[in-house]
Symmetry: C2
Subunit: 310 residues, 2 copies
């Protein structure tokens, strides 16, 4: 089954202790698609400026991404600049130039309105809601956000959440949105706002899924050589939604496996700058590392032990 | 099989957003024993002052802890005072009065020298080494430490590590000891110092085991009501070593299950001040929550799924 993603396509200038890239390909929709397309067909809706080099998306098209919904507007492409310290935690934003993204009002082409899976990357919740008004009964709506909208457009975000199935956000965002520092309690409060599943991203510590049907906790893949964390959250979402679209299994346990696929996708992304690592991996390579994470998380051997002792 | 623990028995004054206790029972050997004794017999070697109320350890004796190795010295019992902020992360130490602990030179009674499992709680590495000189070929030596010794007695700590099987430390300590911020790489450097297994405690995010035989990562039990994190690390070590002593299974996979038992033991401890929660739980209650964590970590259902898709 195929996926519609609405988000940004951008140029990023990023420095980490491992180096620096200038005006490298980035953007939430780009990272998402690169991972999701390993599992299922993807259609992007986004905006770029006249300076955008469309040949940079050729590898996505080869992977089954429909880029025809990326419109070109007069002006420059969205640019973000940030730097990471030695701990590689959150980036310090040095500069944001919205450029053509400032006036982005996503218009979903007729050909794109019947995708069963919809991912609303982190943009203004009013625009996310406007996307949902244009699509026809998707089977699953997954949505991301950021602190900027939680503090600045809470009412709009809450209206949106009533129409979202899976809400993905990080630990700080969950705390701010719920007004509660315990992640499980925060997630329960967010469930009360509408979504049936809340996924809290814990960065290098993995993800927490809280749903009406239970709690699931997956560690991250222990990457030994983190070079650039930019796009990790969107890549995670790409692998997660991609896997769900591939299998169509939206059960609680189906989500566990999709979270594994998302986690593994993100683990590749952080190993290189921009989309360099995502560009070179394939479905088989992801599958191989999924097996490795299964072993690390105890899934692979537990069948012999569950229910015995301890 | 039984366990020897050498560490502190103390009185703690602790404040958290949930309340405050004054001169409440604490100490690394106390927390460790309360958890370990749910699984296997424990003998404590420690020192207290003349002010110590020995009836407070009655519940440990009922649980199978031999407290005859706790010596009384003239003076006051070790006292620690700390406070936790809203995030319940690391405590801010407000006051430390070593008192009789200042001159503690652990002398292991003849009756205590043949325990197959030895846990060296966080004390001066010179004293930890002195303990190992007094015991007879233990089957497993597990050791904890703290930043104070890593910076102040590195040479002694490194000498000790050559005689330790499992080294348990937290993420910051691992970073400082190894001079490396990536936890897996840090653990590998520590393995090179002697231990065959390194367990890095990630607090609310769980534990990471790095060994010659592989990597294992377990999330923490998602406690919704954390009231006092004091003693969580020692309680974790207690459940971990206790489980190993109960089963005698020191294989890599045996350690996974022991880490589960330790993690669950710690999850109980943080639900109340001092040892109040550890006092009331039993082996069956621990077992029940182990099953719950197996479900949360995906062990319980993965037998049906491992090797399929993803």
């Amino acid at each position: 089954m195929s996926i519609l993603v609405v988000g940004s396509v951008a140029y990023d200038t990023v420095s980490t202790p491992h180096g620096k890239v200038q005006d490298a390909l980035g953007g939430s929709a780009t990272y998402f698609s690169a991972a999701a397309a390993l599992f299922a067909p993807v259609r992007i809706v986004a905006v770029v400026g006249e300076d955008f080099d469309h040949s940079q998306l050729e590898f996505l098209r080869e992977r089954g991404v429909d880029t025809s919904g990326i419109v070109v507007e007069p002006g420059a492409t969205f640019r973000w600049s940030g730097s990471y310290g030695a701990e590689m935690g959150d980036a310090t934003t040095l500069d944001t130039q919205l450029n053509v993204f400032q006036e982005f009002r996503p218009s979903i082409p007729d050909t794109h309105r019947r995708e069963p899976f919809v991912f609303l990357a982190n943009i203004d919740p009013e625009l996310q809601l406007a996307v949902l008004e244009q699509v026809e009964k998707p089977r699953l709506v997954v949505c991301d956000t950021m602190n900027f909208w939680i503090s600045g457009k809470r009412r709009e975000l809450e209206a949106l959440l009533q129409r979202v199935d899976v809400f993905v956000l990080n630990e700080t965002e969950a705390r701010d949105l719920a007004g509660e520092s315990n992640p499980v309690r925060a997630a329960r409060r967010i469930l009360a706002l509408g979504p049936s599943r809340v996924v809290i991203k814990l960065g290098e510590y993995g993800v927490l899924l809280v749903a009406e049907d239970g709690i699931f906790r997956l560690p991250a893949f222990p990457v030994e050589d983190v070079r650039d964390p930019t796009g990790a959250g969107d890549t995670f979402a790409g692998g997660f939604v991609g896997y769900l679209a591939e299998t169509g299994d939206l059960s609680f346990e189906g989500l566990h496996r999709a979270l594994l696929a998302g986690t593994v996708s993100a683990s590749f992304n952080v190993e290189a700058f921009s989309l360099d690592r995502l560009r070179e991996i394939d479905r088989a390579r992801v599958q191989e590392r999924c097996r490795e994470l299964e072993r690390i998380a105890g899934w692979a051997w537990s069948q012999r032990l569950v229910g015995q002792g301890g």
